[in-house]
């Protein structure tokens, strides 16, 4: 798994958003040594670069009102690694604003670059995985609430037990080849419709 990740890095397409100077050159040289396809871009593009696996972003120019980018890191987008020459609070806040996952400091040293890219990539992947899991868990929780509410409706209306209510929902789901949550949602909807027609009940 980790070795694959390292192999992946060698095939990365990287964009270096940094003024064209000695520091940018040093960074590009090292990226080429690592095996990445790296190119530089300056001034910063108006839109988030597409078709790249990692972005290096020079922070100093982006702090001012004029310099601020309209885009930052996207949830599913390439991770952003900052290129820093300051680490004062204003800069740290910008790292959060831009969703930065790692940094390299100036003067650029070869050592640390591979590690930073590796960890930024891992962090981005890890976060993507977490987000998927979180989404699933949220959906499940939502489902459980719905089923619970649907059961309560059935218990009251049909004067059955909880177990009977659950079986009712499950059987309907199997018969219609749909999910228990979908049946529960339909029961809740129907019940709300009927309530609306008979306010006094």
């Amino acid at each position: 798994m980790s070795i694959n990740l390292l192999r992946d890095i060698r095939s990365f397409r990287v964009v270096v958003i940094h003024p064209q100077d000695a520091e940018a050159e040093e960074l590009l040289r090292q990226l080429h040594r690592i095996g990445c396809q790296a190119r530089s871009e300056w001034p910063p593009p108006k839109d988030r670069p597409s078709g790249v696996d990692l972005i290096f972003l020079d922070m100093t120019q982006l702090l001012s009102g004029q310099g601020r980018l309209a885009w930052s890191s996207a949830d599913d987008g390439p991770p952003i690694v900052a290129v820093l020459d300051y680490e004062s609070p204003t800069v740290l806040k910008a790292l959060v604003d831009y969703g930065v996952r790692g940094f390299v400091s100036k003067p650029i040293r070869a050592f640390g670059l591979l590690t930073t890219m590796f960890m930024a990539h891992r962090a981005a992947e890890g976060e993507r995985g977490m987000r998927k899991r979180l989404h699933k868990v949220e959906q499940r929780l939502d489902g459980i609430k719905k089923v619970s509410k649907a059961k309560a409706i059935l218990i009251e209306q049909r004067r059955i037990t909880e177990e009977e209510a659950y079986r009712f929902i499950r059987d309907r789901a199997m018969a219609r080849r749909t999910t228990i949550e979908a049946v529960a949602a339909a029961i809740i909807d129907a019940s709300e419709m009927l309530m609306a027609e008979n306010p006094g009940r």
Partner: protein, 389 residues
């Protein structure tokens, strides 16, 4: 780096202050302070019998040129110690050069903190040595509705961030925060002046730096505002800027700095007199100039001990060194390469001199990584306000 030069040969040091460009006005005074200190030391027999020889270059306020000249000084001229830089962008530009070649930069300008290079000694104010003192004075004397305007780079952003925290903690309000380019013209300040007129702040916190400073103060004066009720407050407007701005448009405005040329001490009077004799009667000293001056003396003390230009030995020797500077006794803090300094607040009088309206009774320890300036203890604001007439 070359350690001990051959017998009789001078100690060669590099000097990198702009003599042209947006910050030449103040950097020229730092160059002069540096040269005067070197001349004093040489007049006294030099260091261990050898004179100090300054190799002066003009980086023209351009960070790329600062880097190129630092490289040239350290390689071709084989210089291991540099005195220089005003703006942070120029310091950051030469830092890679100085670190790579293990040289030593002595940096005599106030800055935004959050730095501690092994290859730099910082003798200008760190943010905890001027910001809080200024905020305390202003909120007490004028009120706490603040309008912020500055130049568009990191030092103003950080200084404004700190002032914002300090003001909000004092139940104040930030009415605006505007940034203009370093080369802004006076016309560019017109919208800011209009906005100030509308919003009626208690004071204007300016982090405008360099040549544009005069534009702000002139625009203010032309608008007819009253500094007695709504002063411009700054960390950077010094005697050098007042010479540009003119006394009329400077009067009543406030600056926080460890040094003003009006400091009433024997050491300062001698310093100012010698400076005027050397560079002209109209010349004025200021905090950046004074730091450039005393840091050379501190360096010479270290050099006397180390007796060589090896950076590691010089650094060890300079840590803890003290000197009776014109502002008071200063000391290099071994904890963080910065300097114990004497915070003061001054207000420009009718003659264009700073009346010192508040001063710390003790030198303040530098704390370059301080984030929350409100959290600093009471000891930091032990200060005594001088009676205002």
């Amino acid at each position: 780096m070359e350690c001990t030069p051959k017998s009789g040969e001078p100690w060669r040091v590099g000097v990198l202050f702009s003599q042209t460009g947006v910050t030449a006005g103040i950097e020229r005074t730092q160059l002069q302070g540096t040269l005067m200190a070197i001349e004093e030391i040489n007049a006294g027999g030099g260091v261990n019998g050898r004179e100090i020889l300054p190799i002066v270059e003009d980086p023209r306020s351009d960070p790329a040129l600062f880097a190129a000249l630092a490289e040239r000084l350290m390689t071709e001229e084989r210089v291991g110690v540099l005195f220089g830089c005003y703006m942070s962008s120029t310091r950051k530009a030469i830092l890679p050069v100085v670190e790579r070649r293990n040289g030593l930069l002595l940096y005599s300008t106030l800055y935004e903190g959050f730095e501690c290079s092994r290859n730099v000694i910082y003798t200008g104010a760190a943010p905890n040595q001027n910001g809080r003192q200024l905020a305390d004075y202003l909120t007490r004397e004028y009120g706490s509705r603040v309008y912020m305007v500055g130049s568009d780079y990191i030092y103003p952003y950080e200084s404004s961030r700190i002032m914002r925290d300090l003001v909000l903690q004092r139940s104040g309000k930030i009415l605006a925060e505007k940034y203009l380019p370093l080369n802004a013209t006076q016309k560019a300040f017109a919208p800011v002046i209009r906005d100030i007129r509308r919003k009626e702040p208690d004071f204007i916190f300016s982090t405008v730096v360099g040549a544009a400073t005069a534009h702000l103060y002139h625009a203010y004066a032309e608008a007819g505002f009253d500094p007695a009720r709504m002063p411009i407050a700054s960390l950077t407007t010094s005697e050098a800027e007042i010479s540009d701005i003119g006394v009329a448009a400077s009067r009543g405005h406030v600056t926080a700095a460890p040094y003003f040329d009006s400091i009433d001490s024997e050491a300062n009077r001698r310093f100012v007199a010698r400076y005027r004799e050397r560079f002209g009667e109209q010349e004025r000293t200021n905090a950046s100039c004074e730091a450039a001056y005393f840091q050379v003396h501190l360096f010479a003390q270290a050099l006397r001990i180390a007796n060589c230009m090896d950076t590691d030995r010089l650094r060890d020797a300079i840590f803890g060194q003290e000197f009776d500077a014109p502002q008071g006794r200063v000391r290099i803090d071994p904890d963080n390469n910065h300097t114990y300094l004497w915070p003061r607040v001054g207000r420009v009088d009718a003659d264009g001199r700073f009346e010192i309206v508040a001063e710390s009774p003790a030198a303040m320890k530098p704390d370059p990584y301080l984030v929350d300036h409100n959290a600093a203890g009471d000891a930091d604001i032990r200060w005594r306000r001088q009676a205002t007439v």
